[in-house]
């Protein structure tokens, strides 16, 4: 080890010590979510709290099972229990108004997987988490320089279960990661906090979420020029479902790019909330960042709240955001019906097509059926 490397290491250690000290106060001082907190304004935290309490009352120690498939030689799955490095990573991860909940999650740390992906994946690595009670898994995905990887995470809950997951994703220089999260918790409640740290690679991230109450916090941090993050989401809500999505596209370095497309089809009495923010740090010049939230409302009781934000502190930036909410286009419906497709099916087709926009862009091509 050279002297420079040794100093760098020592400095990193010192920073970590400091961070851990800071984080202690962070968790001690954190306030549980309430609706006066801007980040939880429309999210109905009481629904999650009730679900959590009910699940715990039913069975205090229940949790779920995890499995990994197709990891092969390209990735090394690691068990989390007693892994202090990973615990510290989780301790340092940012949240969007959920520090107190992350503190609780840390107390149950130990479930889930860490994947160190060092070779191109031949077929998608599948991580599956299942529960019918309370389950608090953590996922760590680290992609080595230049490696191309595809990971599919599937979270299945049955009955009135509660899931609360964290995900830390790190992508090294020149790496490419496609990662999709498909969560179906049925009648249960589900929350996931994701931190993507992009050190110079390309990341494509897709969420497809379904549950009685679902909250997503996705924080993408971009540290080098030429790094790219694309965030997609496609969801269909019905009944009394609540989907509360919060995103951050944080550009620490100029010359980087990010794109976000979140689409929801909202039916019945369901509510979709999107609160996103693009932050371009001072001197992160020449950044390209886009953000788009599109909603299709199908019933007179469906509700959306859309809060797309921008905070631009740099120059030579190309940034835009858009939000649109509208009913299904009658012209499209008429066109399909005019070809003999019954109205209900035509509606399904148009809604699927509306969402396919996001999933197709995630997959990077249009798939033939």
């Amino acid at each position: 080890m050279s002297i420079e490397e040794a100093f760098a290491l020592a400095e990193a250690e010192a920073k970590l010590e400091q961070a851990l000290a800071d984080n202690k106060t962070r968790f001690d001082n954190a306030v549980l979510p309430n609706r006066y907190n801007e980040d939880w304004r429309f999210g109905r935290p009481n629904k999650f709290a009730m679900a959590l309490a009910e699940t715990l009352q039913r069975n205090a120690n229940c949790h779920g099972g995890a499995s990994v498939q197709h990891a092969g030689d390209s990735a090394v799955p690691v068990a989390l229990a007693a892994n202090d490095d990973l615990r510290q990573t989780e301790m340092l991860m940012p949240t969007i108004g959920s520090d107190a909940l992350l503190g609780l999650h840390l107390k149950r740390f130990g479930n889930g997987y860490a994947l160190y992906i060092e070779e191109d994946t031949k077929e998608p690595i599948r991580l599956t988490y299942k529960t019918s009670g309370l389950y608090t898994p953590s996922t760590f995905i680290m992609v080595a320089p230049g490696v191309k990887a595809h990971v599919i995470e599937q979270y299945c809950g049955t009955g009135a279960c509660t899931m609360f997951a964290t995900r830390n994703i790190q992508v090294a220089e020149g790496a490419e990661l496609m990662v999709e999260l498909n969560a179906d918790v049925d009648a249960g409640s589900y929350m996931v906090i994701t931190n993507i740290q992009n050190m110079g690679g390309k990341v494509k991230h897709l969420t497809e979420l379904r549950g009685e109450w679902v909250r997503e916090e996705t924080i993408a941090e971009i540290y080098t020029p030429d790094a790219d993050v694309q965030l997609y989401s496609a969801n269909r809500l019905a009944g009394n479902q609540v989907l509360d999505q919060h995103t951050r596209q944080i550009h620490h370095a100029g010359g980087s790019s990010s794109n976000l497309l979140y689409k929801n089809v909202v039916d019945d009495n369901a509510t979709a909330i999107f609160a996103g923010n693009i932050y371009v740090a001072p001197a992160a010049h020449h950044t390209d960042a886009y953000q788009s939230n599109r909603n299709m409302l199908l019933s007179d009781k469906a509700t959306i709240h859309s809060l797309p934000g921008l905070e631009i502190l740099a120059d030579k930036v190309r940034c835009s955001h858009g939000s649109a909410s509208a009913p299904m286009d009658d012209e499209q419906l008429f066109y399909l019906c005019a070809r003999g497709i019954p109205k209900h099916e035509a509606q399904l087709l148009v809604a699927d097509g509306f969402l396919a926009d996001a999933t197709d862009k995630f997959r990077g091509n249009i798939q033939t059926t």
Binding site: K343, E345, F354
Partner: protein, 248 residues
């Protein structure tokens, strides 16, 4: 068996009256052309027949092989055999052409019967090649990002796949170059049959040179004012629609 329109009055919903007593009969096996200056109600007629929600029928009837068209929903009319090639085909984002056609064909099958996917794709590909369309269009979203000509061709493709008994072509020739026009016309001509009829709405003789109509109607101010044979097309080509004004 025919398409019979009687004394049809219709207007834009809460707006201007456009059709002022259209009567028309198209028997099976025939090709009828409907011509007329801009704003005479040609596109309105086609949309009213298909049940477009922007228009409402004030009075009059339309029968398709004895069935009352106006008591049927848009999709029922389609499955009863009525097809409209749109003047401006609509873009349907995210719905692939193939999925769209499958859904439309599936809707025509009796309950419980499944469309045979293999023969469906075979038919679709061969029809596309007849129309000079690249097969990559199967995977593309319906009309999305298509050029004007591509959209028109896509509508004709749908017509050939769905095999309607009554097809209305609303200015299908606009936006087509000569080669595309010939390809589209060949497609239509190949479909001409004793059990099928066409209503061709156009401004120009060009299309009617390729698809020879049996009967030509002139629609003016929401009424059929003249009905004759092909010679009427030539008369209009030479003198325009000025004769309508002198007749008023």
């Amino acid at each position: 068996m025919s398409l019979i329109i009687k004394d049809l009055y219709a207007r834009v919903k809460d707006g201007a009256q456009i059709l002022n007593g259209v009567s028309l009969e198209i028997p099976k096996g025939q090709v009828h052309a409907v011509m007329g200056p801009n704003g005479s109600g040609k596109s309105t007629l086609s949309k009213v027949l298909c049940g477009h929600p922007d228009y409402e029928v004030i009075s009059g009837t339309a029968e398709l092989d004895g069935q009352d068209l106006f008591s049927m929903s848009v999709d029922e009319r389609s499955r009863a055999g009525l097809f409209l090639a749109f003047q401006y085909p609509v873009e349907v984002p995210g719905v692939s052409n193939a999925n769209f056609m499958r859904a439309a064909l599936q809707a025509r099958l009796p309950k419980g019967e499944e469309l045979d996917a293999v023969s469906f794709y075979k038919t679709m590909r061969s029809t596309m090649s007849k129309l000079g369309m690249d097969t990559k269009f199967t995977a593309r979203a319906v009309n999305e990002g298509f050029s004007g000509g591509e959209k028109k061709r896509n509508d004709v493709l749908q017509m050939m796949m769905l095999e309607p008994t009554y097809a209305i072509l609303d200015e299908t020739d606009s936006g087509l170059d000569v080669d595309a026009l010939r390809i589209v016309s060949d497609g239509v001509n190949a479909m001409r049959a004793p059990f099928r009829s066409f209503m061709i709405i156009t401004h120009y003789k060009r299309l009617l040179d390729y698809i020879r109509p049996d009967v030509v109607h002139v629609l003016y101010k929401g009424k059929i004012v003249r009905t004759a044979g092909y010679e009427l097309v030539e008369q209009i080509e030479q003198n325009g629609f000025d004769f309508l004004k002198t007749e008023e």
